[in-house]
């Protein structure tokens, strides 16, 4: 239908506009920071070099230019696929991202699927058995998880499972002296277990509560009541009506809340010393590594935007389906 493609087009246009604005905002904020970039580059040793050296360095780092000029320079680099140079890792930003992003994507992807599956199942059960003890327990649990500071939960997991019970490794993505891909699959899963569990549990609450509401709605609808009145079993009703009407909204919601998962990965990766992009981002922020932080911001904005775009398209498709049916 033309109206739907028009709606998707205008939503897409708005998303692109927002993406450009986000990049501008992030660049302005970073160039506004009162931290002296020269000092940050020299690791706090700004008095160790002479004035002419300082001027030369400022020129090399293009600090003598205005914010607008630097932004133009950065944008023209971006157009050529050059994201700048990371002073923290002493590598081009693109290669830092290339080494750290896959690990983050794996962590986020697993938690995304985990919180979708677990959250949907809990929400489904709570909705079907509304007002039972199970429903109340699930609701209390999700309320607890909304309030839970994720870094504290991660610390508790380490204290309990890694230190007290010695079931899981204390840190990192691989045994000492190995890279992530060198280890066996079992060892990979072993190292991923706690970070993924933390992220999954912390980001599960919205999907549980949303699914519960939706399931209760569907169960109270006329067609389900009709179907039940004709003697269809609850199992059949759930399979034919409830899941069909509640799974897609849950997936849409999960795409739309992608940003929170990404934010959570910053914390989980830092606490577990997991060498992903989130931990690099925190390090870059603490070391005022502007180029790296900017590159990471761009990547995270892109990921959030693709999540939002998919959510928009899916929900439009969903509305269209419902309209045609």
């Amino acid at each position: 239908m033309p109206t739907h493609s028009y709606a998707i087009l205008s939503a897409g246009f708005r998303l692109v506009l927002l993406l450009i604005l986000v990049v501008l905002l992030a660049y302005l904020l970073l160039s506004w920071t009162p931290i002296d970039p020269l000092n940050a580059y020299l690791g706090g040793n700004v008095f160790g070099i002479s004035e002419p050296q300082k001027a030369l360095l400022a020129q090399q780092l293009s600090l003598d230019q205005s914010v607008g000029q630097r932004l133009l320079h950065w944008l023209s680099g971006l157009a050529r696929g050059d994201l700048g140079f990371s002073t923290l890792y002493q590598q081009p930003v693109s290669s830092v991202i290339a080494t750290h992003l896959p690990l983050s994507l794996l962590l986020i992807g697993l938690s995304w699927v985990g919180s979708l599956v677990l959250g949907y199942l809990l929400g489904l059960l709570a909705g079907i058995y509304q007002d039972s003890w199970l429903d109340k327990a699930v609701q209390r649990f999700s309320w607890l998880m909304v309030c839970m500071p994720s870094f504290w939960l991660a610390m508790l997991f380490i204290s309990l499972f890694s230190i007290a019970l010695q079931l899981t490794p204390v840190c990192c993505a691989a045994p000492i002296g190995m890279t992530f891909s060198e280890q066996s699959v079992l060892s990979m899963l072993h190292h991923l277990l706690l970070p993924v569990a933390t992220l999954t549990v912390v980001s599960m609450a919205p999907i549980v509560l949303h699914t519960r509401e939706k399931v209760i709605d569907v169960l109270q609808s006329d067609y389900v009541q009709y179907s039940l009145a004709h003697g269809d079993s609850l199992l059949k009703v759930v399979r034919f009506h409830v899941i069909r009407n509640s799974l897609l909204p849950a997936i849409v919601l999960q795409f739309a809340t992608f940003a929170e998962l990404f934010g959570g990965s910053l914390i989980a990766e830092t606490v577990f010393s997991f060498p992903g992009l989130g931990a690099s981002m925190v390090k870059a922020g603490l070391a005022s590594d502007t180029d790296l932080l900017m590159g990471c911001t761009l990547i995270s904005a892109l990921m959030v935007f693709s999540g939002n775009l998919i959510a928009t398209v899916l929900s439009r498709y969903f509305i269209q389906e419902a309209g045609d049916a």
């Binding site: 970073l30 920071t33 309030c147 940003a259 830092t270 922020g285």
Partner: protein, 276 residues
């Protein structure tokens, strides 16, 4: 609202919350005295939360930290709610203004929240000032969106349209018809922001972008505790964290019940009467 005050669970939560906050604000000891003979003491009756690596009483330090977090968080939430109300009212003025406000809301919500907080706190130079500004500038969009939604509903309600057709001035319409409906939503919305702001502040300080790690705040206390989690000193993290968590849970519970009470309050009846 009055029904709410008769519910024992709500009153118990409110009393507990007041007790926790009062204790934190009025607790007389700083917890700064070193006692090297009594370091690494597990929780006992004498030291409820145990002692840290310098023998300082963790209970006193936690109370100090909670008071500090509540103060800074309260300031940030206050600023943030005022900002969101102003933005929502600005959006009422003109269609262009509404478009701008909606765009700004979307813009601020399209970065991961924690990343936005990091960028803002870097831009404003970290420390207490940077933290307050960062939290204030990153938490307004959600409340603004809610207020915009409510305001649009009021604007399309018959009584508001009638008031407009009777020729009342915009200021009078705002004061007599809009604000009485919006203000309760606004302050409960602000209250709902409070636990979020506290969590985000603690997380930011934990990562090293917020408050000075030497001054006792919840984030700093837990950041220091994370170094000791590996050596088996579980109470460093567990006890202050539990205090923070119970405070957050109580706050969100009270705010949610207030919101529920408001939704079932006289406003909805009024709406029904007007519609008939």
């Amino acid at each position: 609202m009055r029904d709410l005050l008769r519910q024992p669970s709500f009153m118990a939560a409110l009393a507990l919350l007041c007790g926790l906050v009062g204790l934190a604000l009025l607790w007389p000891w700083q917890g700064a005295e070193l006692d090297l003979l009594n370091k690494y003491q597990a929780p006992s009756l004498h030291h409820l939360f145990g002692t840290d690596w310098l023998g300082r009483d963790l209970f006193s330090r936690s109370q100090q930290a909670l008071a500090q977090s509540l103060y800074v968080g309260g300031l940030a939430v206050l600023l943030s709610s005022v900002l969101s109300l102003m933005m929502a009212m600005l959006a009422m003025l003109h269609r262009a203004a509404a478009w701008m406000v909606d765009l700004l809301v979307d813009l601020f919500m399209s970065l991961p929240h924690l990343l936005l907080l990091i960028l803002l706190s870097l831009a404003f130079g970290g420390a207490e000032f940077g933290l307050v500004v960062a939290v204030a500038l990153s938490h307004w969009p959600k409340l603004t969106r809610l207020l915009r939604f409510e305001m649009k509903q009021v604007q399309s309600a018959p009584y508001y349209q009638l008031a407009k057709q009777f020729g009342t001035s915009p200021w009078q319409r705002l004061r007599r018809h809009m604000l009485p409906h919006i203000l309760p939503q606004w302050w409960i919305g602000g209250l709902l922001l409070f636990p979020h702001a506290l969590t985000h502040m603690a997380a930011l300080t934990f990562l090293g972008f917020g408050l000075n790690p030497d001054s006792p705040s919840m984030g700093a206390l837990l950041a220091q505790a994370s170094q000791y989690a590996l050596t088996g000193h579980w109470w460093f993290a567990l006890c202050p964290g539990l205090l923070l968590l119970s405070c957050l849970l109580l706050l969100s519970y009270v705010a949610q019940r207030l919101l529920l009470g408001l939704r079932q309050g006289p406003q909805t009846h009024l709406e029904g009467v007007v519609k008939c």
